[in-house]
Point group: C2
Chain length 296, copies 2
């Protein structure tokens, strides 16, 4: 896996550099500080790395999709800030440090989230952010991302997640939550990379399917780690989902069946890559494997 980690580290440096230099300095200072506090140091940056990887598999360069990858990370970051709010999941720590509302207050947390979401669309729709801009592709990608993040995507998943609390979780409920809350944004990360790379319809479809499958697996493993993970490695308390009565995969199927399900989704995802040259998509295969093996 060390080749994979080198790959991820290399892309993370590009992503961090873009975010550090291209997120505009704004007034009031507190808004700027809250946004930076949320963006740095980032987490795994898995969504933007996947966006770049998809582009590379389709013969484009990281730079061709870097702004788009960073916009997706902004949307992910906004969703975490809002998700952590007292009225939502009420979490005090994220990635080993106090959550945005703990540090800056709730009002600024709401607004920093709103600002990051809006900034993502500002970044996406500025042709200057692309080395070789194709306006139809930019528009298409922006629309796909809005759909994935919106009321038929991530936002619907968040609402379902909160409403499922303290109700007996059903398989349908958990499937809806996982698909919408997590998989749609991971799917669109790959889809965007492929579209901007100028890939054909079949390539775009397969990478999207791969993304949806690893996205669901990613959330299942997140649920599993929330039950049996190491607090030290996760840098957050475990068993919180259970305390809150969350509808998780293990709550419906138990730990073992959840792990099996994640593994079989990952195998299915890797099948989707068969249309690409094997050496080209090695990182997507390894990333898929990493998702089930990870401990944080």
């Amino acid at each position: 896996m060390s080749k994979l980690f080198e790959y991820i580290e290399e892309k993370k440096r590009l992503i961090d550099h873009w975010l550090e230099t291209r997120v505009p300095k704004v007034k009031p200072d507190s808004l700027w500080e809250a946004i930076n506090y949320a963006l740095f140091p980032g987490g795994k940056r898995i969504r933007p790395v996947l966006c770049i990887a998809a582009a590379e598999v389709c013969n484009a360069k990281a730079e061709d999709v870097l702004a788009c990858a960073c916009a997706i990370e902004m949307i992910h970051t906004y969703s975490l800030i809002h998700d952590d709010l007292p009225c939502m999941d009420d979490d005090d720590f994220r990635r080993g440090k106090p959550t945005v509302h703990k540090k800056f207050g709730e009002a600024l947390a709401v607004l920093a989230g709103d600002g990051l979401l809006t900034l993502a669309f500002e970044v996406l729709t500025d042709p200057n952010n692309y080395p070789d801009p194709s306006l139809p592709k930019i528009l298409w990608v922006t629309n796909e991302i809005a759909k994935a993040a919106g009321i038929k995507g991530m936002v619907a998943g968040q609402v379902a997640d909160i409403e499922a609390e303290n109700r007996k979780p059903t398989p349908e409920m958990v499937d809806f939550i996982h698909l919408h809350k997590t998989a749609k944004m991971i799917e669109v990360s790959l889809k965007s990379g492929a579209i901007l790379a100028g890939a054909g319809y079949r390539e775009i479809e397969r990478l999207s399917e791969y993304g949806r499958l690893i996205g669901i697996a990613f959330q299942i493993i997140d649920d599993v780690l929330g039950e049996i993970g190491s607090e030290e490695k996760l840098k957050k308390p475990v068993k919180r989902d259970r305390e809150k009565g969350k509808a998780t995969y293990p709550a419906v199927w138990g730990i073992e069946k959840s792990k099996q399900k994640a593994k079989s989704l990952i195998e299915e995802a890797k099948q989707k890559l068969k249309i690409f040259e094997s050496e080209k998509c090695w990182m997507l295969r390894e990333l898929a494997d990493y998702i089930v093996k990870r401990e944080s």
Copy 2:
């Protein structure tokens, strides 16, 4: 003014019909209900009406910019939902009925707002929403709207507004808040209408300037009505700004100077319309006058 009110009513019908028929039905039901509760019945719909009016002044039809006008109204609606939250302005009533968080809870209010903001960008970037789509113009307009709503626009204004609470308000503070919190979105409403109508650079600039000026005047009058307006007409309590120690125009300049300032901004705004045929932009002149004369 009755001709103006007929004009506004006619456009409001178009806007309401678009929103009623084109905002997609989504699951969970509660999300759909919260979004609809916030959107209907609307307020003055002043931003989308201005977008349509700008397009008409530039020889386009309402239908050419209707989706864009409605997207702007969605952004305005999201900003009200978040602004009313307990951690922000903590308002229990809006337009004579309980605010979204009072009716649906805080979590759903945050998410309905997030959903409306994201939906606005989904609507804006879908070429099917335009009778005669020009991709460069769609992209330009979407980018302008993201900028006006974002961390150098409305979100910055909201942060400044909250931070100014209970501090001695200065003229600079109030100018920053009015420009960012209110005027930028009104400016971009006109600018978007003009761009999508295919107007030239000079026309776009003048309509934008008109929008910025009436936007500032609009907020000054809002502040004045918040001090001396009729609760019955406003359908909300007055003197709330003062109770909260808000940085308002009257708090810095007093009621009379505020009214004078609004009037002079409106005169300046009307001057910007001089490049257009007088009969064509009658509604923009009358709308400007209405802004200072309104009682709610």
